[in-house]
Subunit: 403 residues, 2 copies
């Protein structure tokens, strides 16, 4: 094989192994492995030790990694459960979107930052990380509690709302100046896309079922799901949305049949291979030289605002069920993850946010991700589980990702 | 996201969908889907309609696809079964390697082709495609027959011998002229590598088992297997072997624990996503303008030699068990597949074989792949299955790839 193919393989090997070694060290200290993978990129990447300078091809692989990450989250999100979880979850989600955005945007504008940058950082503060939340609740054996169900339902709405906000924010930033008509069109497009994917997409898949099972292609449902994942990612970019939104909806559309067709564990395997490249590349873009005093102050304030806004705003709609439940839901909604990092990365790629603002978002993600597991462990002590309810969405997630 | 990321996604979508649509059409006519995927590349690629011009990043993805293809084949090959299947399989394999190579090389030298090119095309005629053989036998419900077991055992030895031949051939071609000392070192390296991977590698994995199960990283066995797959691919290139050989041995080393850790279906999922890019790119390198009269004559003769040499040479060691068994084994060993195409592609990349010779190998692969299923169907009619024997290796393969 030619030498550049060999170098590409060596690069893949180095990134995969370093990301996983850092991840395992973090896990050993009961810290989220994903932070280790990002830090591997920070320390080995071009801005620090320069041991691994990712090529453009690895960058492309990382993009596909982001697609599959959100596709997997979508597969774990059943449309009917989305529709059914009721008003509590929606109220928690909406409050949990408005509060961090307003607080983050307000603070950054007061600090005199440019408005585009303030909007992007505030948007990155919105979305709760379903993956991290679910993983933590499962580790605590608390998936069947009522609070857990409210959190998971809200996290799902939160994800969609966060994606719509991302669409608006991306549209605003790429338009140069705020064009409200354009935003209106974008909102209409995003809502139509979301509506179609939640209500009509799953029916189409159901209708295709007999045909799929007659197909001669080996493993037709997985192939179709992968094709639709790539197709909706492309479609999303065509109407001005982020590709990952399309990938998320592709997962959502297949979520009802994911167990029957064994899609989740296999999408998860692809994810397991590709995601480390995404997180490593994400870290490798972070310039440590940017961690000056001003960044650290901003990061500290933004992190505190990110935590407080979710705890208070998401806890409030649940306050009628007692202070403990309110705190459980509030704290459960604090972790930010992939979506925040993706929002920041898009901002960086569009040149609308600075290296400093990118660093602030990464620190905020790290702090909120570390905060939730520690506090949730305390809040869910001796919690009686609600055994009458239907099993929570994430049980299947955990099973499939362990299977 | 930046425009080139969008274009990359569109490219992935187009290639994946076209490859699968062509594959499904072929399957509908009971032809192997893989041929459809290659022809999609031929017809849509830069040498024909130019609808899809693959970028360098997709080329890199295709290389990773080849790695996972051979990794999956390795996962289906248990070292102990390799060691145990006995002399019949080894004799079938050795005869099935020598005969096609000698006949192919002899014919091409007589035709006055350059010796490097003759060696490469002859080497491409060697390796039986385990995947296609297993798939056909499973479709015929003939996996438990004694002939099937001999074929599968032989196909595995054949694969390893074929890979050693590929190493020698690659070494010869890249050395410029035939250096026998160098070849001796290559053989020693390849044999040591193979010996280590068959006898020692699996023990190391067994020894790592308790540690692996204590690891905090989610799904540690899959992560380790992926890391070792990339690592051995790199290692193989470092000692002058093809990367895919390392990937094959990485699979072999994990084969014993693949069912317990559920590795096969998940490696298969990664394969399902990446392989179409590999086959499409493979087809896209084929220039249809090269199909002149001389190519077609060569292709016809090479195809006939490829079939006759396997049927006669592989059937001969089994002749004592009756003519039907001999024919079953001989015909069962005829399909050539991935390995032949990879050998030809490496030759093309090293500039030691011409577009014409590449076209000859692709046609030969197509002809042998079409020949076997048609004739095997007839030869295995009303075959009593050997229910006393241990289940054949491929049963698990089929189960896992369907699961």
């Amino acid at each position: 094989m030619p030498a550049n193919a060999d170098r590409f393989l060596l690069e893949l090997f180095a990134i995969f192994v370093w990301a996983k070694v850092f991840g395992e060290v973090f896990e050993q200290f009961s810290l989220p492995g994903v932070l280790g993978e990002i830090l591997a990129g920070v320390f080995l990447g071009p801005h620090a030790t320069r041991l691994v300078i990712p090529s453009e091809s690895v960058g492309s692989l990382a993009e596909v990694g982001a697609i599959f990450l959100l596709f997997t989250v979508g597969l774990e999100t059943r449309p009917l459960e989305l529709i059914r979880v009721g008003r509590t979850s929606i109220r928690v989600a909406v409050a949990g979107i408005v509060a961090p955005f307003v607080l983050g945007f307000g603070y950054l504008m007061l600090r005199g930052e440019p408005s585009h940058e303030s909007i992007f950082v505030a948007a990155a503060m919105i979305a709760t990380s379903v993956g991290i939340t679910a993983r933590v609740l499962s580790d605590l054996d608390a998936l069947n509690t009522r609070s857990a169900k409210i959190i998971l339902g809200a996290a799902v709405f939160d994800d969609i709302l966060g994606m719509i906000v991302l669409t608006i924010v991306t549209g605003v930033a790429s338009g140069g100046k705020v064009q409200w008509l354009h935003i209106g069109v974008l909102i209409a497009e995003a809502l139509s896309f979301a509506f179609f994917m939640i209500f009509i997409g799953p029916r189409i898949v159901r209708g295709m079922r007999p045909g799929l099972e007659r197909m001669s292609t080996h493993d037709a449902p997985l192939i179709l799901a992968l094709a639709i994942c790539l197709g909706l990612s492309v479609a999303a970019t065509k109407i001005g949305m982020a590709a990952i939104i399309g990938a998320f909806f592709a997962g959502l559309v297949f979520a009802d049949y994911a167990p029957e067709w064994g899609l989740a564990p296999r999408a998860h395997a692809i994810n397991e291979f590709l995601a480390p490249f995404f997180f490593f590349i994400m870290g490798s873009r972070l310039d440590l030289a940017m961690f000056n005093r001003s960044v650290l102050i901003d990061a500290a304030v933004i992190s505190v605002l990110a935590i407080l806004s979710k705890v208070v705003a998401c806890g409030f709609p649940v306050l009628s069920e007692g202070r403990r439940a309110a705190l459980q839901v509030g704290v459960g909604m604090t972790p930010r993850g992939e979506v925040a990092l993706i929002v920041a990365l898009i901002g960086l790629q569009m040149n609308v946010i600075s290296q400093q603002a990118y660093a602030v978002v990464i620190i905020m993600t790290a702090v909120t991700t570390l905060f939730a597991p520690l506090v949730l462990r305390y809040l869910f002590r001796d919690e009686p589980t609600d055994s009458t309810g239907a099993p929570a969405v994430t049980e299947e997630v955990e099973r499939s990702s362990l299977g």
